[in-house]
Amino acid sequence: MKGLLKYLVLFAAVMLVAAACSSDDTDSGTDTTATATETTAAATETTAAATETTAAPATTAPPTEKIDIDFWVAFSDEARLGFSEDRAAEFNEKHPDYNVRVTSFASYNDVFDAAVLAVDSGEPPGLIHFFEAATRQALDAVSDDGNPIFKSVTDAVAGRTEILGEPVVLDSVVDAARNYYTVDGSFYSMPWNTSTTVMFNNMDMLNEAGITEPPATWAEVETACAAVMALADAPSGCITWPNHSWFVEQSLGQQGELLGNADNGRTGRATEVDLESEGMLAYLDWWKGLSDSGYYTYTGLQRDWDGTSNAFLAHEVAMLVYSSSDTTFFGDNADFTLEASFMPSNGDTDYVGNLIGGATIWMLDGMEAATEDGALAFLNFFSNPENAAAWHQLTGYIPITQDAVDLLEAEGWYDESPNSKVASDQLAAAKNTPASLGALLGNFVSIRDVITIAIEDILVNDLDVATRMADANAEANKSLEEYELLFGG
C-alpha cells in the first residue's frame, strides 16, 4: 500500500513538472531553482492563472458586447488583403457594435474546406470569399446535419433598402455579374472581385512590326505574329496566356458554344459536359497551331499567372491575354506603350459574348438576426460606390455596381486610364445567352484540371487535339457523374 502511494506521488510530480514545462512556454527562463521548488512554483502559478481566467470576462468585457463577424478572404497579397482589412476597420469604426475580423487563406478551396469544417464543429465564420467556378458546389453544400451551408443574400435582405444605415447596393450590381450569380431566380452571393479576360498589347513592338491596331480575331493575331516574329530584334515568342481553363471557357462563350447541358446548367442541373464541341476543338487547334509555329509561348506550368505576366513585362512576347484584374498593375509596371483590347475571338463565328470570372462573398446560414444584419450591412458597405470604385482603381477588377461606374465617369477616371474601361465594355458587348453566362457545373474544379492537363499534354507532347480531348471528355463526364451521385437531387 505504501508502495502504491509512492508511485502516485511520483506520478503527480511528473504531471506537475509537465505542467511547469508547458507554462514555462509563456515566460521562459525565469525558473532556475531546483525541481522541488520549481514544481511548487508551477503549482501556484497554475492557480494564479486559474483565478485570472475566471476573473477575465468581468474585467475585459466591454459594457455592451461587440458582435464578432468573421470574414474569410482567399487573398494573401498586401494590396488586396490590405484593402479588405482597411474596409473592415472602417466599418468597425462606423458601427461600434460590430467587429468584422478578416482572416486570410491561401486559396479559395482552403477557405471553403475550412468553412465547411467550421460549420460542422459549431464555429462558422459569417462571410466567406469563394470563386465563380464553385458556385454549384457552394449552392449544394450542406453541413453534417443536412442544412445548407449558405443563405441567399437577396432572401436575407428581404427587400430592405437600408440595413443599419448602409444603403443596399444589390440592385445596382452590373448585369454581367448579376446574371452569372443568379441561380434559380435568386441572387445568392454578393460579387466582389469580378473580371473578364482582356488582351494587353505592347504597342511599341506591334507598331515596329507595322501593326497599328491590336488584333481582334484569331486570324489577325496570326498576321500580327508573323510580322512581329519577322522583326530583326524579334522577341522569343509573340503571344502568351496562362494555361487556365477560364480562357477556354471564355472562348466557348465567344463562339456561343455550351460546356454543359441544361443550358450550361442554367435551366437545370448540368449532367453532361462537352469537351469535344466544335468550338472547343477550333480554339484548341488554333492554340496548338500558334504554339507549333512558335508564336505562342508556353511557360510549362498550368495556371501560370506569374510566368506569363513576367514574360510580357520582360518584352519576351508582344501580346498577353490575361485577367483584367491586373490592369492597374500592368499600367504601373510596363515600360512600353500599353494598350488593352478585347480578347481575340474566332472570326469565322458570330461573336456571342465573354463571361466574367472572379469571386463573390457568400453569407453563411444560421446566424442570429443581429449578426446577420451586421454581415449584410458590411457587404453593402464593402461594395458601396466609393469602395467599389476604389477597388476597381486599385486592381482592374470591374466596378461592380452601376453607381460605382457613374462615380468613376464623373471623376473622369476613364479618360485618364482608358485601358481600365475595356473589361466593362467587353462584358457590355456580350449577348445575354447561357453560353456567354458561363457554365454552372459540379466538380468544376476537377473538370478544369482535366482540361488544363489535356492542353499541357497537347502542347508539350504534340498530340492530336481531337483524340486527346475525347479522353479528357470521358474523364470530365465521369467526374460530373460522380458529383451528381453525391449532390444531385
Binding site: 506520478f11 465521369k478 449532390f487
Partner: protein, 459 residues
C-alpha cells in the same frame, strides 16, 4: 466466393502450423485453422462482403481474397509467436522483450500503461484514428460538404490496376519465381565461376522483377481507368534519384570536409544550412535559378555564352532532373551532418594500419570507412526514402506542378492533387493506403536485406 475464401483459409491454417511450428498436435492444427478463419473473416466483417457482391469483377474478388488471406497470414504469424513462447523457444527478440519485462513493475500490469497513456493518447488521436479513417474513406466516393457518400468497395483501388485478374496473379508469382530461382542458382554455384557471375546477374534481375511486375500490374489508363503506371514510374525515378544524389553527394562532401582544413568547423557548419530550408523554399530557389523567363542561370547562360537553355518544364528528363537536384540538395545537409558525425567514429588505428600496409586512399575509403559507416548509411537510407516519398510535394508544386503533362507527378503529389485540391477524398485515401503499403513493404525489405549487412561494430 466468400465461402471459398474462408475454406481455403481454414486449410491454410494447419498447413502453416505444419510448416512453421515445431511441436504439432491435433489440437494445434485445429487452433491454427480457427485462427486463420478468424483472420480471414475480419475484412468481410468490417467491409461487408461487397467485394463479392453482384456486378463485381474478377479484380474485386482478387483484392478481397488477397486481403482475407493476408489478414489470416498475419494472424497465423501472431499464433506462431504465441506457440513458440509457450514452448519456451523464445527467439532472440522475444528474449530481449522478456528481459525488459523481468525488470518488472511489481505494482501491477497497469502501471506501465498509465505511464504510457499520454503518449498513447497522442498517438491514437493524431495517428491511429486518422489512419483508420483513411482506410474507411478509401472504399468511398466522398466530398466535403456533400449530403451523402457512396460506397464503392474496391473501386478506388481497381481503377489503379489492370482489369485482368489472371495477369494480376501471374505477374507477382513470376517475379517471386525469378527471385527464388536466382537464390537457388546462387546457392548452387561456387565463387569465381562463370556460373556465379550469371547468378549475380540473375539476383539483380530478380530484384528488378518485383518492380517490373508492379509496373505491369498498374493501369496504363484509358477506359475510365487512371494512368497510374506513369505515376509509379515517376515515383521510382524521382525517389531513387533523390536518395542516390542525396546520399552519394552527402558522403562525398562529408569525406572532403572531414579533412583538416583551416576554419573547418565554420565551413562544416555552413554545409548543413540547406537542411534548415523548407521544401517549398527549395522549390522557389531552384525555380528562380532555372525559370526560362526570370531564371538567373538561364539568363546568365544567354548573356554570357549566348546559349539558349531549354525550358526545363517542357522536357520530362529535365523536369525530373531539376526536381531531383532541388530535393537532393535540400537533404544533402542532413546527410552531411550524419556522415560527419559517423566519420569521427571510424577507427584511426585501422586506417593507420592500412596506410602502413600500403593501401591506397581509395582502398582505405572502400574497405574501412564505408563499412564503418554502414549503420549510418542504413539509417540515412530509411530517412532519405521517407523524405523522398513524403516531403517533396512543395518542391514539385513550386517547380513544375507536375509538368510536363504529369511527368513529375509522384505518388504524394498525386494524392494531394486528387484528394485535397480536387476534394476527392475517397480516391486520395485509396492512393494514400497504397503508398502506405509500399513504404511498409520497402522498409521491411530493407531491414531484411540491407539491415543484415550492417555492422554496428563491437566484438
Amino acid at each position: 466466393m466468400l465461402i471459398v475464401g474462408l475454406v481455403v483459409a481454414a486449410l491454410l491454417g494447419p498447413l502453416y502450423v505444419w510448416l512453421n511450428v515445431e511441436r504439432r498436435s491435433l489440437q494445434r492444427y485445429a487452433i491454427g485453422s480457427a485462427t486463420a478463419v478468424a483472420g480471414a473473416a475480419i475484412t468481410p466483417l468490417v467491409m461487408g462482403s461487397c467485394g463479392f457482391a453482384e456486378g463485381t469483377t474478377g479484380v474485386d474478388h482478387l483484392l478481397s481474397l488477397t486481403l482475407m488471406w493476408g489478414a489470416a497470414w498475419i494472424a497465423l504469424i501472431a499464433l506462431r509467436t504465441f506457440f513458440d513462447k509457450a514452448d519456451g523457444k523464445a527467439k532472440e527478440s522475444a528474449a530481449m522483450a522478456g528481459e525488459i519485462r523481468t525488470g518488472g513493475y511489481r505494482m501491477g500490469w497497469w502501471v506501465p500503461w498509465v505511464l504510457l497513456s499520454p503518449t498513447l493518447l497522442i498517438l491514437i488521436v493524431f495517428l491511429y484514428y486518422p489512419a483508420y479513417r483513411t482506410f474507411t474513406l478509401s472504399s468511398k466516393l466522398a466530398k466535403l460538404g456533400a449530403p451523402r457518400s457512396v460506397d464503392v468497395c474496391f473501386g478506388n483501388f481497381t481503377e489503379l490496376l489492370i482489369l485482368n485478374p489472371a495477369k494480376l496473379v501471374a505477374y507477382p508469382l513470376i517475379a517471386i519465381a525469378v527471385i527464388y530461382g536466382a537464390r537457388f542458382w546462387m546457392s548452387h554455384s561456387s565463387p569465381g565461376t562463370w556460373s556465379r557471375k550469371g547468378a549475380d546477374v540473375a539476383s539483380v534481375v530478380g530484384m528488378m522483377a518485383i518492380f517490373i511486375a508492379m509496373y505491369l500490374m498498374f493501369s496504363p489508363g484509358g477506359g475510365g481507368q487512371v494512368d497510374y503506371r506513369d505515376v509509379y514510374v515517376n515515383t521510382l525515378i524521382i525517389t531513387v534519384g533523390i536518395v542516390a544524389f542525396g546520399m552519394i553527394g552527402g558522403l562525398a562532401v562529408a569525406y572532403l570536409a572531414f579533412r583538416k582544413i583551416r576554419g573547418g568547423s565554420a565551413y562544416r557548419t555552413l554545409l548543413i544550412w540547406p537542411y534548415a530550408i523548407s521544401p517549398a523554399v527549395a522549390g522557389v530557389l531552384f525555380f528562380m535559378i532555372f525559370d526560362p523567363t526570370a531564371g538567373i542561370f538561364t539568363h546568365g547562360m544567354d548573356v554570357v555564352f549566348g546559349i539558349d537553355v531549354p525550358n526545363y518544364r517542357e522536357s520530362a528528363v529535365l523536369a525530373q532532373a531539376s526536381i531531383i537536384l532541388a530535393s537532393g540538395w535540400k537533404i544533402l545537409g542532413y546527410n552531411i551532418l550524419f556522415y560527419l558525425a559517423g566519420l569521427q567514429t571510424v577507427s584511426t588505428d585501422q586506417i593507420e594500419a592500412a596506410v602502413i600496409d600500403g593501401a591506397s586512399s581509395w582502398q582505405r575509403f572502400y574497405k574501412i570507412v564505408m563499412p564503418a559507416l554502414s549503420p549510418i548509411t542504413f539509417f540515412l537510407l530509411v530517412t532519405n526514402l521517407v523524405y523522398a516519398f513524403f516531403e517533396v510535394y512543395a518542391t514539385i508544386d513550386f517547380m513544375t506542378k507536375g509538368a510536363p503533362a504529369g511527368k513529375t507527378s509522384i505518388a504524394i503529389y498525386e494524392i494531394i492533387r486528387v484528394g485535397v485540391n480536387n476534394g476527392d477524398l475517397g480516391r486520395g485515401a485509396a492512393q494514400s493506403v497504397l503508398l502506405f503499403a509500399a513504404v511498409i513493404a520497402i522498409t521491411l525489405w530493407q531491414f531484411r536485406t540491407t539491415g543484415s549487412k550492417v555492422s554496428y561494430g563491437g566484438a
